[in-house]
Symmetry: C2
Subunit: 202 residues, 2 copies
């Protein structure tokens, strides 16, 4: 078969991405397969490869979508909460998203961009965007004079929460008998913010 007109280019991209997301959510990164995606949408493997270059390209776009979804999920959760509670909403939201979308979340961290290939623009952009949401909230609770290295502090806080979340879903905490990882992470974040004189509980 040659050129078809079932879907335009963008339409096809979206179709592959949607189905790719579906397969990733079901099977996880280890069992993810571009061939399976092709089968489900009724196109051949070659077409999928042609659109995304290679399977790593497809995975990166799926991960970019997950980041975008994650940002929106957090923004939604922030709505209705004012002042002091917003940081806690972010921490809990981080955990809840990861738990709810286990495989999609894990795929972000299980996928390594191969040497010689670089990270897709959209993936980098969405990753930075998610950080931006958190940075905004962190800056809001810090005293104005400390705004200088707020970006670095934000990165550190995200790393802290991420570490707890990764240990929870990876089973490390279960092995060590830790029962409430999210509360533990929240405690670490609050300690750090209070050490900086953040207006928590004000």
């Amino acid at each position: 078969m040659g050129r078809r007109s079932d879907h335009g280019r963008e339409e096809l991209e979206a179709l592959i991405l949607d189905t790719g997301r579906e397969v990733m959510a079901e099977s996880g990164y280890a069992r993810f397969s571009a061939r399976e995606v092709a089968k489900r949408i009724g196109y051949s493997v070659g077409t999928v490869m042609h659109v995304f270059g290679n399977v790593d390209g497809l995975v990166m776009e799926i991960n970019a979508r997950t980041f975008r979804h994650w940002s929106e999920w957090l923004e939604d959760r922030l709505e209705g909460t004012e002042g002091r509670g917003r940081i806690l909403v972010l921490v809990r939201g981080y955990f809840d998203f990861a738990e709810t979308h286990r495989n999609l979340w894990a795929a972000i961290y299980e996928h390594r961009v191969p040497e010689g290939m670089d990270m897709s623009e959209t993936l980098a952009a969405q990753r930075v965007r998610l950080t931006g949401v958190i940075a905004r909230e962190v800056a809001a609770v810090l005293p104005p004079n400390d705004a200088g290295d707020a970006a670095e502090l934000t990165s550190s806080l995200i790393a802290t929460v991420h570490g707890h979340c990764a240990f929870m879903l990876g089973g490390t905490f279960a092995l060590l008998g830790v029962e409430h990882p999210a509360e533990l992470a929240a405690a670490r974040v609050m300690e750090t913010l209070q050490a900086r004189g953040a207006l928590i509980g004000a």
Copy 2:
């Protein structure tokens, strides 16, 4: 060919494990291959499978070895440092080990035990052992009355350092312009310990 007597059972296990470690260090988890291990030691694939059950079994034993090596590496580094510096040695040691043995370290966290299979005894044991080394040092700097939930605190501190380390090696920090991840992690750990009244700098 049938039964040979080149190596005893334990000898063969060790040979596979050594070579497996070698392949993992060179290629990383994504490109790790039991067939490649078999080729290097001059046995067939079937034999490797027979000894370790399946490739996940082999990976878990390799990871268990990495944990053991890591514990010893940390103990070595602790020697010669007294009192206050020991916590910092642990934090730096965590980062240094991960950087020096990038692929071996990453394999620990990139491998997911498949559903229906459970984590090997030795892997769980070595993982707990590493935690034990750190828990001992944390308990040593905490005020005696706080020893109750020292285990949970230790897990939280490890998660914090792990998060920073994972972001460093995964490229997240580079993307966000963070330059000194180890110092950042150390700062978080010290904050937490000081909030508990730990005898740092005493």
